[in-house]
Symmetry: C2
């Protein structure tokens, strides 16, 4: 009988609540989140730092639709294509949500026949990945992209992209970081001299890309087991991908008897040397590591690739955040625009993408730990009254203030208590209160109260705007 | 034979180009568009005006995901539900793109048990509507929403929403406009006294909503033909919906022998009177029209509704734009949050949504007509060289400038010609050129050229940052 009762209860639960109201799950979709006012305040600080940097480097800004024709995205992401969100076929075109901002950018260039632009684009992208939200991995997340398209002398735009990553991560004070750099041509050359067949370059590259998350032994067994690479070739790859360093390592590999014979690798190493020279002039080589294990998952890269990693949190007790991982990445993709051009005309491009959510997680947790109070509005003055029946006078005054460009609020009550009005200022950080009362109206003044000091001064009504401006300008 | 050849040619065309390359359509999805740097410059001006206004009124800001659970949107939009974009079922939850920002806001309030907030939200929404892009009607478009949620004294927040619309449209200088106002309770009361059955209120309301686009005769025939309303009831409705005016009309209807007997209509008219009193204090009744034909399509409104319409273009030769129509709308929706709350707890809300694309179309066309040159970057100085072999010196100098917060660019060439560098400044509006040369390097100076006047001055290197700041501050 107990069993039967349990069964019936379960059925009842499935049917919904007692009132016959349909059961409703009140949540955001898996892997997504809302941003409340406090989170938005942090987010806007981060955006502001990033946008300032992009503008400092002379970038224009563009925007593209959140979805693209499905075929625009097809064949651009290799093994990651399975993570693309498709829209339901409701008649008309087949659409997919953008997976990154790079492919839409290349489509934009080809469509408008643009061969030369430096632009940034900040927008949300979508991946049906396994979310890990505490570590800042979402299905909907912002990318902040800066790209330079055009035929230029080697490595000058590439070096600028790395300078930008360096500036932004320094500016945001996220703690120590390192920017790993490699080149797809060096990887491909290395694969060739290790005996990886041409047809397996991209898939072996995807395996190497996992080295920042899983140990070599696991990656090796994927290469040999799943991907059918010979154990000898895998071991040779294994030796190279352990290497990391600076100019010294580049020089060493340029002397490497096998690599130096490979045309692609030699080209890549030559450019890497040039890149390091430019980075030395920028004074940022201290944070740059030439790292042969860096591969980047996406198919479209053709030259330099890079990825910025936060090393550890200053805030030692937030243990979970150690290894928050990659916060920026990018590289050169000289063939992508040509894939969209009817005549295959290429436009060389290099760019960087800043991943805001991980940065944001860190700053959010840091702010919570610090107990710093963060204001979520910019209101300068609350229009208040000390007596009843003054709603009309408050409405008249606040209207004057708004029209003069003053940020002003009032309580939406006919007869609010003065104490409640002052409490509202304390709670929200409004620095000034403009109090209207019978006597003040007769005298043609407004009583201005400074919340922090509780000081009160009578200001002539015609001087009020100026007085508020002076007292709230910093 | 000719027929056969034509057939074969057609087959060939269907199979794609000669090279066997798949035929590819290079476009954005129907009803969407890219924003290039010039369009973005205009768009950011508009956003900046709108955000300033929202902040002036003390609003916080939030953000929500671009998609919601499908069931979150179900049953909120009445006849417009067919326009919702659904995502493909790829396993997991069923999702839809948001149709507006109001329903996600209500979901956010219920989910976080927030009963009191004034917030804005600027984001794209999606509607599978018939696009009319020259008139600014898209399938992906921005909404700029400001809403006040909470239990307050009547019509104070409602009046503020109208003040906001008035401020924004005045600030953007879009020409003359009128804000039509009505109340769902007045409409429902009117339907009742005209003999419209309760069950037909919402669908007849949808018909009335079309009056700004189609003549009364057509609306009447939809009511009688498609929706089964009696011709007599339709004619009675037809008499009321022709009325528009101000306080006088409100007073007249409060005396109307039929309407004054209806509880809902009386409530609505009483509040409308109060609203007009507050709007008089704000000094904006000149642009407000109480209009009984205003109905608003959406199901969720419960009280005041309003819509701002641009009357005509000052620029008379852009004939097509006459009647660009509604650029803002909103109203009170006291029941929507309760639809999400498990216990049905209500949170009264009123809000306004600014439609940016139509405003944007007007400003874009106006700018094109005016030949005003619009800068798309903020670069203060171009780092240039007059001789060859100075790439390293340019890189060193620009790096110093970036680190000092100066917005600086250089050409990505090893040895660019001075003329090309100066031309780049002319083309992009960069006001200053910092020229490094052999002699200047020896003397420890940089030659600063003012592009507009062609004046050149030698500045000591250590004073360069300060000099650039002074010359580019306004």
């Amino acid at each position: 009988i107990a069993k039967e009762v349990a069964k019936l209860l379960e059925m009842k639960a499935q049917l919904g609540g007692d009132e016959g109201k349909p059961k409703f799950v009140l949540k955001t979709p898996k892997g997504t989140r809302d941003y409340g006012p406090k989170q938005m305040a942090i987010r806007e600080r981060v955006f502001s730092a990033i946008i300032s940097c992009f503008k400092r480097h002379g970038a224009e800004v563009i925007d593209t639709p959140v979805f693209e024709l499905k075929e625009t995205l097809t064949g651009k992401y290799g093994e990651d294509s399975k993570l693309i969100y498709d829209l339901k076929d409701q008649g008309g075109e087949l659409l997919s949500l953008r997976y990154d901002l790079t492919v839409p950018f290349a489509r934009y260039l080809a469509m408008n026949k643009i061969t030369n632009i430096k632009r940034y684009h900040i927008a949300k992208v979508y991946r049906r990945d396994n979310p890990a939200m505490t570590r800042g991995r979402y299905r909907e997340f912002y990318q902040c992209d800066f790209d330079i398209a055009g035929q230029f002398d080697p490595m000058i735009p590439d070096a600028e992209c790395l300078k930008i990553v360096h500036e932004i991560l320094s500016d945001l004070q996220l703690g120590d970081f390192v920017i790993k750099v490699n080149d797809r041509r060096i990887l491909d050359g290395m694969f060739a001299v290790c005996g990886v067949p041409d047809s397996k370059f991209r898939t072996i590259c995807s395996s190497v890309d996992k080295l920042d998350k899983v140990p070599w032994e696991e990656v090796r067994s994927e290469m040999v087991g799943e991907k059918g690479l010979s154990p000898e070739a895998a071991d040779r790859v294994g030796e190279y991908v352990q290497l990391q360093g600076g100019l010294d390592l580049i020089e060493q590999l340029l002397q490497d008897p096998k690599l130096s014979q490979n045309k692609l690798a030699k080209e890549g190493l030559g450019d890497m040397k040039l890149l390091f020279e430019y980075l030395t002039l920028f004074g940022i080589t201290g944070k740059i590591s030439f790292d042969l294990s860096l591969a980047r998952g996406l198919d479209y890269y053709t030259g330099v690739i890079f990825e910025a990693v936060l090393l550890q949190q200053e805030n030692e007790h937030v243990e979970e955040l150690v290894g928050v991982g990659s916060v920026a990445g990018g590289g050169r993709y000289d063939g992508l625009v040509g894939m969209f051009d009817p005549k295959g005309r290429k436009v060389p491009c290099v760019g960087v993408s800043i991943g805001i959510e991980r940065i944001f997680s860190i700053l959010e947790q840091r702010l919570e730990a610090s107990e710093e109070k963060i204001r979520t509005t910019e209101t300068q003055v609350l229009v208040a009254s000390a007596q009843k029946k003054l709603l009309e006078e408050r409405l008249k005054l606040i209207s004057e203030l708004w029209d003069a460009g003053i940020k002003a609020e009032m309580l939406y009550k006919k007869n609010p208590k003065l104490l409640n009005q002052l409490q509202y200022c304390e709670d929200t950080g409004i620095p000034l209160v403009a109090i209207v009362g019978e006597q003040e109206l007769k005298d043609g003044v407004v009583k201005l109260r400074i919340v922090a000091t509780r000081e009160e001064v009578n200001i002539r009504r015609e001087s009020l705007v100026e007085e508020i401006r002076t007292r709230t300008s910093q």
